[in-house]
């Protein structure tokens, strides 16, 4: 099988907060159309990696290459425009706005009319607004949220709020979607639907980098997995390799395994 083109190349990025090294020389490569997961115990530095990828934090060392261009330390909005979009671990929706408005805000940079065209309600404005609205509804339908279209985001149950965040991220037109614990707070049926949706995105050419604690989701959808612990990369490989990697088991089970050995 021919190797697919590299979309994202993270090379030895490091982030320090005062004394602590939250991310310590982490590297990873994501190819077009792959679903790659980052796992690791709490506080391992996973979200910090996402924050560097999206320009929320500057990198202290290392570089991030997306589509052949360096994007580290760029402005977040330039990074979105380049094609990386994300969801947040602690949901950050525009909660007093409607579901469809959230998705339309996701489509902000792709909504191509200027201020004066909107004030005078020109043909260009109406066409563009109609097009983006229809796309938003199509997107909501395919993720199974359309029946909530007119609701306010804050009224959705937790699982649906997560779905809406993913929808909003896709609406930006980004080709690389970063999901920070998408299955957190979902019931088994919802996470099954999520897996189905992730596979559907993959089929349609999206590339996904995901942080997730739910191992059934990780093992089911990932092409490859990176494991970090205390900011350091400790393993990478195919799902089955990771599942049987002693270092990973130790990082996750830590003292528990030692206790078992002691007995």
């Amino acid at each position: 099988m021919a190797e697919k083109e590299v979309l994202l190349k993270v090379d030895n990025i490091t982030k320090r907060f005062g004394g602590i090294v939250a991310v310590d020389h982490v590297s990873c490569t994501v190819r077009k159309g792959e679903v790659v997961s980052i796992i690791g115990p709490n506080g391992a530095g996973k979200t910090t990696v996402f924050n560097m990828l999206t320009g929320v934090y500057e990198v202290d060392e290392g570089e991030i290459i997306f589509n052949g261009n360096p994007i580290h330390n760029k402005d977040p909005k330039e990074i979105v425009a380049a094609g990386i979009s994300r969801t947040f671990q602690n949901i950050r929706l525009f909660s007093d706005l409607r579901v469809i408005e959230n998705v339309l805000i996701g489509a902000h940079i792709k909504t191509k009319y200027n201020f004066f065209q909107s004030v005078f309600r020109t043909k260009k404005f109406r066409e563009e607004e109609d097009k983006k609205t229809a796309e938003a509804i199509q997107l909501l339908k395919s993720i199974g949220l359309d029946y909530r279209r007119d609701d306010y985001a804050s009224n959705l149950p937790y699982g649906e709020q997560r779905k809406l965040e993913i929808t909003r991220a896709i609406a930006t037109g980004a080709q690389l979607i970063l999901l920070d614990e998408p299955a957190a707070g979902m019931n088994p049926q919802e996470s099954a639907e999520l897996m189905e949706f992730i596979n559907k995105l993959k089929d349609q050419g999206y590339t996904i980098l995901m942080i997730e604690h739910d191992m059934s989701v990780v093992m089911n959808v990932s092409d490859r997995i990176y494991v970090i612990d205390h900011g350091k990369p400790i393993a990478e490989g195919l799902p089955e390799e990771i599942a049987n990697n002693p270092k990973v088991i130790e990082a996750y089970l830590g003292g528990v395994q030692n206790d078992a050995e002691d007995q």
């Binding site: 805000i105 902000h108 309600r121 997107l139 896709i170």
Partner: protein, 346 residues
């Protein structure tokens, strides 16, 4: 909630007829009032509606609280009055000039939003209001200092003076309020308005959607400033005399009170808020001394029992789709490909 839904359904169903009735009522109002004093009050309510609509763009939709909007009102009022009095310029030309000057001041005041937010920004706006007052007071060669600008002419169209007596000023107010309202609706229901509201809700998430926070905040300041300058120009020609104290801190708080009472981030609320807070002191002249105490009481009660404002409910009506979109939705298949990717797929 249920009551709101019933009412909204009713209004939505009878929208056309209700709008016609409202228009007839507003057009006939001066004849029904049949009193110059009451018509003056009506124009004053209209002027404050404009000011509230202006502040609402910034505070209600973008979430930036300004305590110095009297500054923009002053810029509009002074620029237009001085152009009319000293240069003999036409009301409309001088009003537009006032809006341009206020818009530029809006850019200046918007710049600090790059670094400061929340309370700190409000304090800067407070300072701005005071600075404008100081300029009006001390730049005597232009503004006449504490003496103020007297004999501000009434607006005129083709040599026909618009006054309170001939109701011209009232109808001018109606037209300006109508245009401003339509403008605000157009802004709110577009990507600009959505960006404003996104910034209000969550700045980090907005940045992650690619929204240029700084430029939208500045845009919000500019729009807000222009509308307030328009209101200021109208107000100056209504009262005929302005001095630096016409636009003191009380005016800034009054505008903010209207926005809060009416319902931040709603357009309908501005009319109700202005009508209540402007008409109230007029009908309660005997309460003159205690007026501001009463304002305070009203606002505290509002904050306690209805923080979203009198008209501040969330619409229960479905999101409006155009006919074109509705037709497309009918035909949609939930399994259709998304086709949203920016770049061509690799």
């Amino acid at each position: 909630m249920n009551f709101v839904h019933t009412m909204e359904t009713f209004v939505e169903g009878k929208k056309k007829i209700l709008l016609i009735l409202l228009a007839v009522f507003l057009i006939a109002l001066p004849y029904m009032l049949n009193s110059q004093y009451l018509v003056t009050v009506a124009v004053k309510i209209g002027s404050y509606t404009l000011l509230a609509l202006g502040l609402n763009v910034l505070t209600g939709y973008t979430g930036l609280v300004s305590l110095g909007h009297a500054g923009f009102v002053a810029i509009g009022a002074y620029t237009s009055s001085l152009c009319a009095v000293k240069l003999g310029m036409n009301f409309f030309a001088s009003m537009i000039l006032g809006m341009v000057v206020a818009g530029l001041a809006g850019v200046l005041l918007g710049l600090p939003t790059m670094r400061v937010t929340g309370t700190y920004l409000s304090i800067i706006t407070l300072g701005f209001g005071e600075i404008i007052k100081m300029i009006a007071m001390n730049w005597s060669s232009v503004t006449n200092g504490t003496l103020g600008v007297k004999n501000i002419p009434r607006p005129s169209i083709f040599g026909y003076d618009l006054t309170i007596a001939n109701n011209g000023l009232y109808y001018l107010m109606l037209v300006l309020v109508l245009i401003t309202t339509l403008f605000c609706i157009a802004v709110v229901k577009s990507k600009t308005g959505r960006a404003f509201q996104a910034i209000r809700a969550d700045e980090l998430a907005s940045t992650m959607m690619g929204i240029n926070i700084t430029s939208y905040k500045i845009l919000s300041f500019v729009i807000s400033a222009c509308i307030c300058a328009l209101g200021g120009a109208l107000y100056a020609s209504l009262i005929g005399y302005i001095d630096p104290n016409t636009f003191n801190f009380d005016v800034s708080t009054l505008i903010l009170s209207i926005v809060i009472l009416g319902g931040m981030g709603t357009i309908r609320g501005m009319f109700v808020g202005a009508a209540i807070l402007i008409a109230f002191p007029e009908v309660s002249r005997f309460l003159m001394e205690y007026r501001f105490v009463l304002y305070g009481v009203i606002l505290v009660l509002m904050m306690r029992f209805r923080p979203q404002g009198i008209m501040g409910w969330k619409s229960t009506m479905p999101y409006r789709l155009s006919k074109n979109v509705k037709e497309q939705v009918e035909k949609m298949d939930k399994n259709a490909p998304l086709n949203l990717l920016n770049e061509t797929k690799g």
